[in-house]
């Protein structure tokens, strides 16, 4: 479907020995078509082929969120090309380094793909369009100002001459790009490709089952590896007895790393079987006794510490608490959770005879993968290429931590000249994550005699993601991912204090979909509790604390209206609502829920409103909302328990994912107000737990403050 470039073509040919016209199933992202004449690189982002096909380079990663298509839509919109002729390829991380990071950030996370690159991508499209028009005008010896463009065809009005982009692309590519500052962008009101439900570019290959994922890489003479890591995090390998394994069919070798052992074989099942026969002695280090209980005690002690760093301090909270008519206080807790991407961690590495190291992997950051490979391979960046494959889910697991890439490289280093594909078993994947942090939060609110909130004090005890993955991001002792939603809440409460107790057990933590979303659950359920204590209706109570022009207010009102808030419901069905902003967007969610006498919850309908400023692909945004809802419903019963320093759960039988039958009706209302750019991959996750738990409270009068919970806790007494 998408054009192959010459560079990729050469790599592919070299790797596979394929003839020019064969269809091949490897590397990179592109599927070969008949080798066409060389495309012209009009700008670093845009290749135009003589037959008018356009290849747009993509720097971020596609993991199902659809931003690959959204980014291409933004470029195509300004380029004024024919969308039907648009294909794509990933920008090469290796060339990225050689070309002084011409493609900007390759990091894909924080729902930031579109919002943080939209401006330079639109400018790239507009610049290329100007260059193409100027090239045509030159040939016709007319002024570019007298030419118009539509659908990749340039027309000179007076002489009625027409030429397609493909014919002038080579000439355009030799021109100097216009000054960034002079490039004018369209008013989004005039968009024809962006803002529309165009079909996602990645879907057809996925439906055909083409080998697009990291685990699908298939190279000549490739070997397969399965890996075992020390069950206790941070432990090391003491000794390995691999005598039995080495005699097993297909086994090519055993690689002993400092903290893992891998078996390499000619088939992954054989590698994994042989792995199980290894006798590995681990040095568990000092953490072999850590448990849920010891971690909870650590968090609890954190809540009571004096002099904690604060992320927000306004007014005089102690005075307001003393003066209060009523003080409401509660503690909430949620456990470690893994990403559980359907595709386990995987990396294929190949030390080629020419000295280059090639890596094929599912990564949220091609550049980070390259850096990890370079470090583990002991080669300079220029000697490393990363072929980005489609991700079988990311959700934050495949961004900052590049552990699996390093392992893949260390393993392949023992088999120089041969490609080795490492795939983690599901068990490894679940027990060696970078988990959503466990957290314990205490909230205290002061109410005056009229039932208005005069003060709010939150204390958050939570491991720091930044301390582990991006220590330079910690400011004055605060990890913003741990305090969000409290530190930045827009409720107009005059006295506020938000304190952070950074407590870091040895369990690795990372960016899970919508990092910090536990705080939305805590805050928005607690606000419900406070409303109840004040004898107020939960929606009105919130609106009374939001300024008239606060976008959180607008989106909450839009949600309530769409959800028929206040109108009668069928018997046994109850509503809950929540609002919180994040990842550049403002969101609110209302849920309709029933709870049967056995205490089982059924979520019937979820109404979601989001203001992301602009919307580039509405259907992809709706898909993200649907996915976020069911992803987060899993929080009600999922947990990773820590026992003897390790994660107790090992597969989907004890860490279940939500199923089809649990999927509620999700109604998404996109209410973009313009003037800013917000994300969509994660904001939909924020309010799922609080909206549903507030509805559960309405249904049962029981307040769930600890996740996960069991039906027993909601059973009618």
């Amino acid at each position: 479907m998408n054009a192959i470039t010459r560079r990729e073509f050469i790599q592919v040919s070299a790797a596979s020995g394929a003839a020019l016209t064969l269809e091949f199933s490897i590397p990179g992202t592109a599927f070969a078509q008949k080798a066409a004449a060389t495309p012209a690189e009009v700008t670093a982002w845009i290749l135009i082929h003589p037959d008018d096909r356009v290849t747009i380079r993509i720097a971020r990663s596609e993991m199902g969120q659809g931003s690959l298509t959204g980014l291409a839509q933004l470029v195509a919109e300004e380029l004024e090309c024919d969308w039907a002729k648009v294909g794509w390829e990933y920008a090469s991380p290796n060339e990225h380094v050689k070309r002084k990071r011409v493609w900007g950030s390759m990091s894909t996370g924080g729902s930031a793909g579109v919002r943080t690159s939209q401006e330079y991508l639109r400018k790239a499209g507009a610049s290329a369009r100007e260059m193409l028009v100027a090239a045509a005008a030159d040939q016709w010896k007319v002024s570019p100002a007298d030419c118009t463009v539509a659908n990749g065809v340039i027309t000179h009005g007076a002489s009625k001459r027409r030429v397609s982009y493909g014919k002038v692309a080579a000439a355009a590519a030799t021109r100097t790009p216009p000054d960034e500052k002079t490039v004018k962008l369209k008013d989004p009101k005039d968009w024809k490709i962006a803002g529309k439900d165009v079909a996602r570019l990645d879907i057809p290959d996925k439906v055909l089952g083409k080998p697009v994922f990291g685990v699908d890489v298939n190279l000549p003479g490739m070997l397969m590896a399965s890996i075992a890591q020390c069950p206790v995090f941070l432990g090391k390998v003491k000794s390995v007895d691999s005598a039995a394994a080495e005699k097993m069919r297909g086994v090519k070798g055993v690689v002993k790393g400092t903290d893992f052992v891998a078996v390499v074989a000619d088939n992954w099942w054989r590698a994994n079987n042989a792995l199980k026969s290894l006798k590995i002695e681990w040095d568990e280090g000092a953490n072999g006794k850590v448990s849920d209980e010891s971690i909870k005690a650590m968090l609890k002690a954190g809540l009571d510490e004096k002099g904690l760093p604060n992320a927000r301090s306004t007014g005089d909270v102690p005075a307001a608490m003393t003066a209060a008519t009523k003080v409401v206080e509660a503690e909430y807790y949620s456990p470690y959770l893994s990403h559980a991407t359907m595709e386990p961690m995987t990396a294929t590495a190949w030390f080629k005879d020419d000295g280059m190291l090639h890596v094929w992997t599912s990564t949220q950051n091609g550049e980070a993968s390259m850096a990890a490979a370079s470090e583990a391979g002991g080669l300079p960046l220029e000697m490393v290429e990363v072929h980005k494959m489609m991700l079988g889910g990311g959700f934050g697991r495949r961004g900052a931590p590049q552990d699996y890439v390093k392992q893949g490289v260390i393993i392949a280093k023992e088999f120089k000249g041969k490609p080795v594909k490492m795939i983690w078993s599901r068990e490894e994947d679940m027990q060696h994550g970078f988990y959503r942090p466990v957290s314990l939060v205490r909230m205290k609110a002061a109410l005056d005699k009229d039932g208005a909130v005069t003060a709010m004090h939150s204390t958050i005890a939570c491991p720091s993601i930044l301390a582990l993955l991006r220590p330079e991001g910690i400011q004055k002792g605060i990890d913003f991912t741990a305090v969000r939603t409290f530190a930045d809440m827009t409720y107009t409460i005059p006295n506020q204090l938000c304190e952070y107790a950074q407590k870091n057990p040895h369990v690795p933590v990372g960016f899970w979909r919508a990092p910090g979303l536990q705080n939305s659950f805590y805050r928005e359920c607690f606000i419900d509790e406070v409303a109840h204590a004040a004898g107020k209706e939960p929606l009105a109570f919130r609106l009374a604390m939001l300024k008239p022009d606060d976008k959180n207010r607008l989106v909450l009102e839009a949600c309530a209206k769409a959800a028929d808030w206040g109108k009668p419901l069928p018997p046994g069905v109850f509503r809950g609502i929540a609002q919180s902003d994040g990842f550049g967007s403002y969101t609110a969610m209302a849920a309709e829920v029933s709870v049967n006498p056995a205490g089982e919850i059924k979520v019937h309908r979820v109404v979601f409103a989001i203001d992301s400023g602009y919307v580039v692909n509405p259907d992809a945004c709706r898909a993200q909302a649907e996915g976020n809802v069911i992803f987060c419903i899993g929080q009600f019963y999922q947990a990773h328990h820590i026992k003897d320093g390790r994660v107790a759960e090992s597969n989907f039988h004890d860490f279940p994912l939500p199923k089809m039958a649990e999927m509620p009706k999700v109604e998404t209302h996109l209410v973009p107000t313009g003037g800013f750019w917000g994300g969509h991959g994660e904001p939909g996750a924020l309010n799922v737990a609080p909206a549903i738990m507030n509805a559960v409270f309405a249904a049962t009068g029981k307040r769930i403050r600890t996740l996960p919970f069991t039906a027993d806790e909601l059973k009618k007494a």
Binding site: V207, G393, I630, M660
Partner: protein, 156 residues
């Protein structure tokens, strides 16, 4: 030697009888459309058809399908796109797409047996896991096939 027919093609495999069909397909026949998700029959990413029945290839020893007909996603689309695949594209079902080949194989088997499934029948038959959460669209796509492909496009 184990003889199986995969997507209409006779194959001889020199592998252990207890090698799961999944790894015979992926690592021996290089058919990468069938996915590994759990290895313990929990997720359905590895769903293929054996003599028309949906099975989880990760727990199906290749020896047990000796002489049988195996259909994978690569075969489903021959000669042209299967109606399930068309509906999947029309309704923009896949997100990351990893679970979708198994999901489509399960859906094709369901529709073969029950051409007009109810919601409850869909919930019962479609126990495949999708971490991205595409369930609403999966259901909509299945229903559109049941309705002869005549349903409103996906605007969930």
């Amino acid at each position: 030697m184990i003889s199986i027919t995969v997507n209409g093609k006779a194959q001889k495999l020199d592998v252990e009888e207890d090698m799961p069909l999944l790894w015979a397909l992926r690592d021996e026949l290089k058919l990468m459309g069938t996915k590994y998700g759990c290895g313990i029959a929990q997720c359905g990413a590895c769903t293929v058809h054996v003599d028309g029945q949906p099975v989880r290839a990760c727990v199906t020893p290749v020896g047990s399908v000796q002489g049988k007909k195996v259909l994978t996603i690569e075969g489903l689309s021959k000669p042209g796109l299967h109606k399930v695949q068309k509906a999947w594209i029309e309704h923009a079902v896949p997100q990351c797409g990893y679970c979708q080949t198994g999901m489509m194989m399960a859906a094709a088997a369901l529709l073969q047996k029950t051409p007009q499934p109810t919601d409850a029948q869909i919930d019962d038959a479609m126990t495949n896991l999708c971490r991205c959460g595409t369930y609403a669209r999966v259901k909509k796509a299945i229903k559109s096939v049941a309705a002869g492909g005549k349903s409103a496009p996906a605007k969930a």
